[in-house]
Amino acid sequence: MSTTTTIARTSDWLQPHRIVLIVLAAAIVFACVFFMRWDWLPAYLPLALQGIWRTIWLLAVTAALGITLAIPIGFAQAAGPAFLAVPARVFCTVIRGTPLLLQLWLLYYGLGSLFPQFPWIRESFLWPYLRQAWPYGVLALTLSYAGYEGEVMRGAFAGVPKGQLEAARAFGMRRWTAFRRIWLPQALRRALPTLAGETVLQLKATPLVATITMVDIYSVASRVRQETFVTYEPLLLLALVYMAITGVIVFAFRKIEARIPARLG
């Protein structure tokens, strides 16, 4: 029984044209491996691994910080009073309406040229960090993620049926308890499918930090290109690395989604 289904599945997947495509792909990979220059790879491998780690770290930290910021921003827009809802909406509009590269450069060059002019900042314990590039990169990417995800969370909070909240009140839950037990979990569940897409977009935004001298995998590839004059190989490898990370993100979110019951009340 199980063998027949596997056969059916493989034959489904392995149609004749797919075999042609796979052969072609194998030929291209073969050509890439043997006719392109890869002799630089061993020398730069440690640096590349460090760069991959830096990219993943940046993605994880900014996505986590961004979602924690997005929840209050979305909630303020969906149910908050005007003096909170209006700034939250303005924040989302500004973040979504301007390029991330511009935001990044505004923070790095703008704040970076502003801070040294204050002696008390230069003397504070934060100064060793503020002189580096990564706080600005993390800040810009976090704000960007919060802006995009805040808009998603607004829709998710607004989409929770009123009856659920009324039922929570009828049970005598206090506001905070109802928020924690009913409103937030249902909103998060609603936002989950878009979260995977937003996270992939965030991954694709991370190479921008290379323009402010952070050393992620993208800037390692640029350095290889500058030092060895090999143009395409590092870029191809870079694309492959990003595709692999994207695959892992999509797979992980699919696993998480499968664990959460799909039916929404």
């Binding site: 797919r18 505004l106 502003l114």
Partner: protein, 252 residues
């Protein structure tokens, strides 16, 4: 000692006007020229993306298995790799390829116009996204309408022009509007390859005058204005394309 007001915009409105003035010591004209270049690239790449998207959506829906798989590969790869990497790859590979082709044909290699290269590169990226948007929109058309068109004996191209494109517009416009906004913002990425659009001009201006906040905020305002104006125009398009359809009232 410098105070806060000193630093913000070097304080006085006079210097702000001076920096953003249109005449040469000011950078206003350069910024507007940058904005114009950005809008031009965005329009071109969005249009090219739309063309690729229509072909892609048709290929994915009605093409042979091979065509379907190839378009699937295209959309998957382009949507998984950062735009910045794609821009570098296509920019270098594209210009290299064209020049090699020209030498092969016996012509002298040419310097490829940055504007055209930018439009092509961003158009290929946009095409992958609009393929998905348009595919979904075509699938949302009631099947009977397409069958009716076939029953009338319309040729496929006439059917595309008269039935499929107008009927899918209301479903496609929200997605395409998002893509247009992404296109306007993606033009900023061309600054990394040194193309003189708004962001790159802004960086040059800021670097030359050291008034970083002034210029980056001015550019931000320009991008934001572009987005907001686009939103107004898009909502008008959407209303037009939805005419005659039952209105959807958002329920809460």
């Amino acid at each position: 000692m410098t105070t806060l007001t000193d630093i913000f915009l070097s304080a006085s409105a006079a210097s702000l006007v001076e920096l953003l003035a249109f005449d040469p010591p000011g950078w206003g004209a350069n910024l507007l020229r940058g904005l114009l270049a950005s809008v031009g690239i965005a329009c071109g790449s969005f249009g090219l993306g739309l063309l690729i998207g229509i072909c892609g959506a048709y290929g994915k829906l009605y093409g042979s298995p091979m065509v379907r798989d190839l378009f699937g590969l295209y959309t998957t790869i382009v949507r998984a790799v950062p735009e910045l990497v794609l821009i570098l790859l296509l920019y270098f590979a594209g210009t290299d390829l064209v020049n090699r082709l020209l030498t092969l044909l016996g012509y002298a290699p040419v310097d490829i116009n940055g504007l055209i290269a930018g439009i092509c590169v961003l158009g290929v990226v946009q095409g992958a996204y609009s393929t998905e948007v348009l595919r979904g929109a075509i699938l949302a058309i009631p099947q009977g309408q397409i069958e009716a068109a076939r029953a009338y004996g319309m040729s496929p191209s006439l059917q595309l022009r008269r039935i499929t494109l107008p009927a899918m517009a209301p479903y496609a416009i929200p997605g395409l509007a998002n893509l247009w906004l992404i296109a306007t913002k993606d033009t900023a990425l061309l600054a990394v390859v040194g193309f003189n659009e708004l962001t790159q001009t802004t960086r040059l201006a800021a670097g030359a005058t050291k008034a970083y906040f002034t210029f980056f905020i001015a550019a931000g305002v320009l991008y934001l204005a572009l987005t907001l104006v686009s939103n107004v125009i898009i909502s008008r398009f959407e209303r037009h394309s939805r005419r005659g359809m039952p209105s959807v009232v958002e329920t809460r």
